[in-house]
């Protein structure tokens, strides 16, 4: 059954090939007709005159017929068939009006070469079907066992019949008219012979050859005859069918060694013909058939050396052919698939062989294969040098053309597999990295971008393998210290990256990669509280390298690393590292600020953003350092002091960007003073509280003093002074007894007033004046209720008010000060004098104010006196008249009346003087 099926397949294959030729010719004719039609239409559109000329004259340059014939039959040996009508038909006259398109039957006929369908079926298709049926009949005859004829007889009959068919076909084919018919006979004759040659040793009913070797030789001889005969027509398809029969013979033979060895000359002959006639598709077919036949044979249990030698021979054959086509620069018929298919088949078969015979040395096979492909790459680089490609040609196009890149890629992958197969543990990564380095080095040496990129890619793969194989990580010991398994290979990669950059001027990406790797290692190996410091240290080293080598990339890396380091340090230490571990924090601060000084002292220039960043980092780390080192109660104060220090540094331009940062730190410190000591804000608090408040005030005034000395930023200066006062007032309240609070505040106010006068800073005077308000309030609310000290304290307050009144600037402010003094004095009288004499006392005060107003020529005082007298009158009638005892009532009325009269007399007597005063 299998035999019949095989024969049927072969027959169908022959029929398919013949029909394919036919259809190919028809398609060519159709395309020619369409092309000519388009030309004529174009002529008609451009100029009617030209069209007419074209109608009268033959087409000036028709496509030569030989072109089309050559595509089918490059070098015809036998008589050529008569020219086909479509090729030589005169150009049909073109009508002025475009005629309607041909009908469907016409188009079909045109497609079939202007032959009637009936003639086509009867003359061609039936011929092929007949040939196939005849071959099947021969096969059935051979397989059928009957008593009247022995196998030799049946074989002889079949051979005779086949030869007769073949001879008839060859004879008839000489006549052009019967050519199609004759080819059917030839195909049937060879198919019959081939089937017979197979049957005489493979089928029991027809077996006359017992030796498989002899049987195979006979089959191969028939196939060789087919091939040689097919060459007469020089048609790729026909010769390909003949070769298919030959490969099928080798696939069917039971002698495996014979089959696999015979494949070599067969494949060589295919490649020879493919190379001679540029039958690229047939070469591809030969490759597939060779390896498919070999695979179909299965394992022969031959020694590894023999098997590998055979595969090597196949590989060399097809690789040589590919090299020849690369030199010929041929690129058609899918020929570019020869290389990858050959590689896939060779490597796959070799792998299976080594895996079966010596699995422990698979790495060696990979190494050998890598060497082979390296050699192939070198030869390709010679045959098709990179300079032969156009600049900017895509890699895929170059690889299709057979450049050295493809084999080199294979060599690199195979070498990597060899390393991975042989080497164990972390050394795998070291080996892969070295391979990548060698590839990259070759790229530098030969100035090949592809090699450099391949090396870079190999580095990536190597690194990926490090992490892939070592995660989750285990520890190992290096020089007595436990480190992660992947640390040494990663460091080795970083070393190689720097070597490439330093020795071979590699792309700056290498140093970025190396810095990233070092950062990774430091991050993994250091404890959390040390990572940032380590990164900062590395950043410092990179910065130094960058400034010495003048390579900008190191500077960028240093800044990136430094920023990350500072941030990491801040995060690690802000999230609660032990207090004792302040040294890394201090070291980080020193590194960051050292870099600032380094740039400043070297008179280097930096962008404002970088300087600001460094200033921020410095301040942040310093704040954290103080937080970690200073006792908690004094942290806020220390931040305030830090702000002063930073501000001072900013004034020295170390760097100037610290100025804004110092304000931020000062704000933080001030807020911290308030918040951290909120619970202890009370009279006579703990030392830390009062010291912090006083310290904050002093720090604020330090800002004021420095700004004052430089005569700049007056607004901030005044704000700082105000903030200082706001801290000083509560601080004084905390540490001073109630009786002394107002006195202290008054002293403070006087100090600011005098400072303002001395330095001619109005804002300071206003500040002093502002302090008076809380002082008055304090006295009114607290001191006047203290019977023991109120006289003294109120006197001090009143004295301060009148001092300000005397030292004050404008008229209005002086009026305010005097008003405050009067208010305070009146309040004092209210507390000191008993209810019955209060009206009299106030009246006396009013008279005194009037007198002072006259004496000092101060209208405000006089007005205050008058207002006070008016108030006394009101009190007299509204309050005293109803509530005082009679004696006091009388006294009050009498005294007030006299006083008013006296005042009136004074105003009348000194009217002229008053007019001048007014």
């Amino acid at each position: 059954m299998e035999y019949i099926l095989g024969v049927l397949v072969i027959a169908l294959l022959i029929a398919w090939v013949v029909l394919r030729d036919r259809v190919g010719r028809l398609e060519d004719r159709l395309s020619l007709s369409e092309g000519r039609l388009r030309e004529l239409e174009a002529l008609q559109k451009t100029s009617p005159v030209v069209v007419e000329e074209a109608i009268e004259k033959p087409v000036p340059a028709p496509i030569p017929e030989s072109v089309f014939v050559a595509r089918e039959q490059p070098k015809p040996i036998g008589p050529l068939p008569p020219p086909l009508p479509a090729y030589v038909a005169p150009v049909a006259p073109v009508a002025p009006v475009t005629p309607p398109g041909p009908s469907l039957p016409d188009r079909l006929r045109q497609k079939l070469g202007n032959e009637e369908w009936e003639a086509l079926i009867g003359g061609s298709i039936l011929n092929k079907i007949g040939a196939v049926v005849l071959v099947i009949g021969i096969a059935l005859f051979l397989a059928y066992s009957f008593a009247y004829m022995r196998p030799a007889g049946r074989a002889a009959i079949c051979i005779a019949g086949s030869l007769a068919l073949l001879a008839a076909g060859v004879q008839v084919e000489r006549r052009a008219k019967y050519r199609v018919f004759a080819r059917g006979l030839i195909g049937a004759g060879w198919a019959g012979l081939y089937a017979t040659s197979y049957a005489i040793y493979a089928l029991p009913a027809a077996r006359i050859i017992e030796s498989p070797f002899a049987g195979s030789v006979v089959m191969l001889l028939v196939a060789a005859g087919m091939i040689l005969h097919s060459l007469r027509y020089r048609t790729q398809a026909v010769t390909g069918v003949a070769y298919a029969a030959a490969f099928a013979a080798l696939a069917a033979t039971p002698s495996t060694p014979f089959a696999v060895v015979s494949l070599i000359p067969l494949a060589a002959s295919v490649l020879y013909l493919a190379n001679a006639f540029e039958w690229n598709a047939m070469a591809l077919f030969g490759l597939v058939a060779t390896y498919a036949t070999c695979i179909a044979r299965g394992d022969s249990n031959a020694p590894l050396a023999s098997t590998q030698t055979l595969f090597l021979a196949y590989w060399v054959l097809f690789e040589t052919f590919d090299l020849l086509r690369v030199r010929r620069r041929s690129l058609s018929g899918g020929i570019e698939w020869i290389f990858p298919l050959n590689a896939a088949a060779f490597l796959g078969l070799s792998y299976m062989a080594w895996a079966h015979h010596a699995p422990e040395r698979l790495w060696l096979a990979s190494a050998y294969a890598a060497a082979l492909y390296l050699a192939s790459a070198i030869v390709r680089a010679v045959v098709r040098p990179p300079s032969s490609f156009e600049n900017g040609e895509r890699l895929s196009a170059r690889m299709r053309a057979g450049s050295y890149e493809g084999p080199l890629l294979f060599a690199a992958v195979l070498a990597a597999l060899a390393v991975m197969g042989r080497v164990t543990g972390v050394w795998k990564s070291v080996g892969l990295a070295l391979e990548a380095e060698i590839i990259y080095l070759a790229g530098v040496r030969f100035r090949a971008t592809f090699l450099r990129r391949l090396g870079g890619g190999a580095f990536v793969v190597s690194l990926a393998s490090v992490l892939w194989r070592n995660l989750p990580a285990e520890e190992t010991s290096v020089l007595g210290r436990p480190v992660w398994n992947w640390t040494p290979p990663v460091l080795f990669h970083a070393f190689l990256f720097y070597v490439n950059r330093g020795l071979f001027r590699a792309h700056s990406a290498f140093t970025y990669g190396a810095a990233g790797l070092l950062m990774l290692v430091l991050g993994a190996e250091c404890p959390a509280w040390l990572i940032g410091t380590a990164w900062l240290l590395l950043a410092t080293v990179l910065f130094e390298i960058g400034s010495r080598t003048r390579l900008r990339e190191f500077g960028i890396q240093a800044y990136l690393l430094g920023g990350s380091g500072a941030m990491m340090t801040a995060l690690a230490h802000a999230s609660g590292s032990p207090h004792r571990l302040w040294i890394p924090l201090a070291a980080s601060l020193a590194l960051v600020y050292g870099n600032v000084l380094r740039v400043r002292l070297a008179k280097g220039s930096e962008s404002a953003a970088l300087s600001t960043g460094k200033a921020l980092a410095t301040a942040l780390l310093a704040v954290l350092l103080l937080w970690r080192t200073v006792p908690w109660d004094y942290v806020a104060l220390s931040w305030c002091a830090l702000a002063v220090v930073l501000f001072e540094l900013a004034l020295w331009k170390l760097p100037a960007e610290l100025r804004a940062v110092s304000w931020c730190v000062a704000a933080l410190g001030g807020a911290a003073v308030v918040i951290t000591h909120a619970d202890g804000f009370a009279k006579y608090p703990a030392d830390a509280v009062s010291i912090s408040w006083f310290g904050a005030a002093l720090c604020a005034w330090a800002f004021t003093a420095r700004l004052l000395s430089r005569r700049e930023q007056t607004f901030l200066r005044d704000v700082a002074a105000l903030v200082g006062v706001l801290f000083a007032l509560p601080a004084l309240w905390m540490v001073t007894p109630d009786v002394g609070v107002a006195v202290c505040w008054a002293a403070l106010a006087i100090v600011w007033l005098e400072l303002g006068s001395l330095l001619r800073v109005n804002s300071f005077r206003w500040l002093g004046s502002g302090i008076l308000l809380p002082m008055i309030c304090w006295e009114l609310a607290v001191n006047l209720y203290d019977p023991h000290y109120r006289l003294i304290v109120a006197s001090a307050g009143i004295g301060t008010c009148y001092y300000f009144w005397r030292r004050g600037g404008g008229l209005r402010i002086r009026a305010v000060f005097s008003l405050l003094g009067t208010l305070l004095l009146t309040a004092l009288l209210y507390h000191e004098v008993s209810g019955g004499l209060l009206t009299v006392a106030c009246a006396v005060e009013g008279v005194a104010l009037l007198g002072a107003g006259f004496a000092l020529r101060e209208r405000v005082l006089r007005l205050q006196g008058l207002v006070l007298l008016l108030a006394c009158i009101l009190k007299l009638f509204l309050y005293d008249l109803r509530n005082l005892e009679t004696i006091y009532r009388i006294l009050s009325f009498v005294a007030l009346g006299l006083i008013l009269l006296a005042v009136s007399w004074v105003y009348t007597r000194f009217r002229e003087h008053l007019r001048r005063l007014l």
Partner: protein, 160 residues
């Protein structure tokens, strides 16, 4: 980059190649050329890339290095001195001379008596640490020392 730094980096590269040589070497097949070739390829390719001038001579130099390595191993295992260091020293001498001659094909500067003698002596001295089969053998370090020393000297002499 300054020359000393460059030489240190090159020495480390060759030392890495030496480590790989040991890791790839198969003791069962080191007596054959094909068995040695994969192991010595890193050193050979590195030396060819760094020292050989005409590119077309590089494959030849690589093949010759593989052959030299095979020969040196043969020398080491065939000598029967009671002091193993002497065996290694002689093998290193042969290896150093062979490597120098092979590389000199692609770098004429090495083709002088003084240079060859220097490389030979370095090969011999650098091979002293080898102790084939010893229980405390540190083969990766041994090969690293030998290839690092010879390779760096090759590079230094060819660059001069």
């Amino acid at each position: 980059m300054k020359r000393p730094v460059k030489l240190v980096l090159v020495a480390l590269l060759f030392a890495g190649a030496g480590v790989l040589t040991e890791l790839l070497a198969d003791t069962a097949i080191t007596r054959t050329f094909l068995g040695n070739a994969p192991a010595v390829l890193p050193f050979a390719i590195l030396a060819a890339l760094l020292c050989v001038r005409p590119p077309w001579l590089m494959p030849l130099v690589v093949v010759l290095h593989c052959a030299v390595f095979t020969g040196a191993v043969q020398v080491a295992v065939s000598l029967d001195s009671p002091v193993p260091q002497i065996n290694m020293c002689v093998a290193g001498l042969a290896g150093g001379l062979g490597v120098a001659l092979a590389t000199a094909i692609g770098c004429r500067k090495l083709f002088r008596i003084r240079q060859l003698a220097l490389l030979t002596a370095t090969g011999a001295i650098a091979a002293i640490p080898f102790q084939i089969g010893g229980p405390d053998s540190l083969m990766p370090l041994d090969f690293a020392v030998w290839q690092g020393a010879v390779g760096t000297l090759l590079y230094a002499l060819s660059e001069r």
